[in-house]
């Protein structure tokens, strides 16, 4: 203890400089952790944190027995797996082409265009969905009508929304991920390619036997890192595309949208906190597992 105070006295300024950050996380991260107690109560606004009746694991039991937790977990994980695999695959292919193609102007333009969606807000994605799919006057339904196809109301079917959500997720991250893969490719030594050319390898062979094998470690690392967050849903994406259309929830509800509705629509504080706590705990376990695997295989990339 004395050593601690001596240290504080000696490095007073350094402690003062980091103090705001420490206070910030105490206030907005550590104090709310006490609030996970809501998950074990039947929250009432009069009772508050410790005045509401304690119900033990009832909220969790209800989430499990109603099947809600299974649906939410399944949706969250399946969406994330598709997001991760499809995004990384397309980003990788784009990066390979951008690295190999001639034509500076074309590459610059297409890279700029593909990076554009990264900068816009998810509210604008909501505007796109409104323009493209709205029941009364969406572009896609009216194009279908002009082609003589039967009337199709997107909001009456759950099937297309999976694809719409996946499309906009991939769409938004394409440019960002491409830059990361491109940076990795640019780091490869030219010598390999020169040697392969002299040996008479054509461009497909060069890509297949040099670029792709050398990108595999980056690819696996990025996938592993994303797998750690597989229980974290992208609230903005789902909420802006699906919103409050309850009839679509069965295939589009994720943990994050459920928690939000518990807070803002159903006022079911106990249940929402329980779902959030479940997500947080299992999310932490996942990150620890992923980190363990990375530590075993490529230590310098471990998170901690």
């Amino acid at each position: 203890m004395i050593g601690f105070f001596r240290e504080v006295a000696r490095n007073r300024v350094l402690f003062l400089m980091i103090a705001p950050a420490l206070l910030f996380f105490a206030l907005f991260s550590y104090i709310p952790m006490v609030g996970v107690y809501y998950a074990f109560t039947n929250y009432s606004f009069d009772g508050g944190l410790f005045g509401s009746p304690f119900v033990g694991f009832d909220n969790f039991k209800f989430l499990v027995s109603s099947g809600e937790l299974v649906t939410l977990t399944r949706n969250t994980i399946l969406y994330n797996i598709v997001f991760i695999l499809l995004s990384n695959f397309l980003q990788l292919v784009c990066a390979i082409f951008l690295a190999e193609l001639p034509g500076r102007w074309f590459k610059k333009t297409s890279q700029s265009v593909m990076f554009l969606p990264f900068f816009i807000s998810f509210v604008l994605v909501g505007a796109f969905v409104l323009n493209l799919f709205s029941s009364q006057n969406g572009l896609v339904p009216s194009l279908m009508a002009q082609l003589g196809l039967p009337h199709y109301d997107f909001y009456m079917h759950t099937a297309p929304w999976k694809y719409i959500i996946v499309f906009f997720h991939v769409w938004k991250g394409l440019g960002y991920g491409t830059v990361i893969y491109l940076a990795a490719i640019m780091g490869f030594s030219e010598e390999y390619y020169e040697a392969a050319k002299i040996d008479g390898a054509n461009i497909f062979q060069r890509v297949r036997s040099i670029t792709i094998p050398m990108l595999v470690p980056t690819f696996i690392l990025l996938i592993l890192l994303s797998l750690g967050g597989i229980l974290k849903g992208q609230f903005d994406l789902f909420y802006q595309i699906v919103g409050q259309n309850g009839s679509l929830f069965n295939s589009t509800d994720i943990i994050d949208t459920y928690v939000y509705r518990s807070l803002a629509v159903n006022f079911d504080i106990g249940m929402g906190t329980a779902a959030g706590l479940y997500q947080s705990l299992f999310g932490m376990l996942l990150v620890l597992c992923v980190n363990y695997i990375i530590r075993k295989t490529r230590e310098d990339y471990a998170l901690f």
Partner: protein, 293 residues
């Protein structure tokens, strides 16, 4: 040198592939713009089209009969973005600096204290209740700025960035009698400009595009930031108070669907204008940090 057949095939596939993806990236923007330039009558009759049947500026005209709401939202967004980014960057860089100093005894413990918040959190609801019931921040500008000021990732990124600055610079400044804050402010900050620019841009983009915080906390119309205003307009065009009653033509439709699209254009326009500048810095920053933050 003659091009090999395989190279020609490869290039053709590449150009087609990238062109299709580029077009898919642009189409949503184009349909918003053409939608905003359509006439409301056409939209009601036959829905949005790729190319409007009748070109019309009614939606923009309607919006700018009473632009005070949009201006106010712009003001809020600019204020929140500037304040949040400036304060956030200052606090992030100070924390990153302290954690990057090797002679600082508790740096590993404190780094873990900060990092742990990314591993486990109380979740949205306890956080919300704390801010509303205990900190009494509901419907304040503070609620738009303060809860998003710091992120553990940014601090770690900053720390790693500052670690790459040679120790000898700090050592020699110390010998010259410079204090810790002075070393940070006069030496380390100027040397960290690329890192500061990247993290600052990320923060600014986050604040500018944020609608969720306002959705949770803001109830007064005059405190609504831009993205949340757009969200409200998309839900119901009547949120935007326009005065276009004076139109006399018999089949005139007050713009609602086209008005939503015009609002989307007006809200997003500045980002698109700044885009060439933003993109350059982002690409630079990303390639510095590369895979690992």
């Amino acid at each position: 040198m003659k091009m090999e057949k395989s190279t020609i095939a490869f290039n053709a596939i590449g150009y087609v592939f990238l062109s299709i993806l580029s077009i898919l990236c642009l189409v949503p923007f184009l349909v918003i713009i053409t939608g905003s330039l359509s006439s409301e009558t056409d939209i009601i009759a036959s829905g949005f089209q790729l190319i409007p049947k009748h070109f019309s500026l009614d939606a923009y005209r309607a919006m700018f009969t009473n632009p005070a709401q949009i201006y106010q939202a712009y003001k809020v967004s600019i204020l929140v973005t500037v304040a949040g980014t400036a304060v956030g960057l200052f606090l992030t860089s100070m924390a990153g600096y302290v954690l990057s100093r090797k002679e600082f005894k508790y740096r590993n413990g404190l780094a873990f204290y900060i990092y742990f918040t990314t591993l486990f959190s109380g979740g949205l609801i306890p956080w919300y209740i704390l801010i509303v019931n205990y900190l009494d921040m509901k419907d304040t500008y503070t609620s738009l700025v303060v809860p998003g000021l710091l992120s553990a990732w940014n601090i770690i990124l900053m720390k790693n960035f500052m670690k790459s600055i040679p120790d000898s610079i700090v050592e020699s400044a110390k010998i010259d009698g410079a204090g810790d804050f002075r070393i940070y402010f006069r030496l380390i900050l100027p040397l960290s400009t690329p890192g500061l620019a990247t993290i600052g841009l990320f923060m600014a983009l986050g604040y500018w595009n944020d609608w969720f915080t306002a959705n949770l906390f803001i109830t007064t119309d005059s405190k609504v930031p831009l993205q949340f205003l757009l969200y409200k307009i998309l839900a119901s065009a009547s949120v935007l108070k326009t005065s276009i009653a004076g139109n006399l033509s018999p089949n005139f439709q007050p713009p609602t669907e086209t008005l939503k699209m015009a609002a989307a254009v007006v809200v997003t326009g500045p980002i698109i204008l700044l885009y060439p500048f933003l993109q350059r810095y982002f690409v630079k920053g990303l390639t510095i940090g590369a895979v690992k933050g």
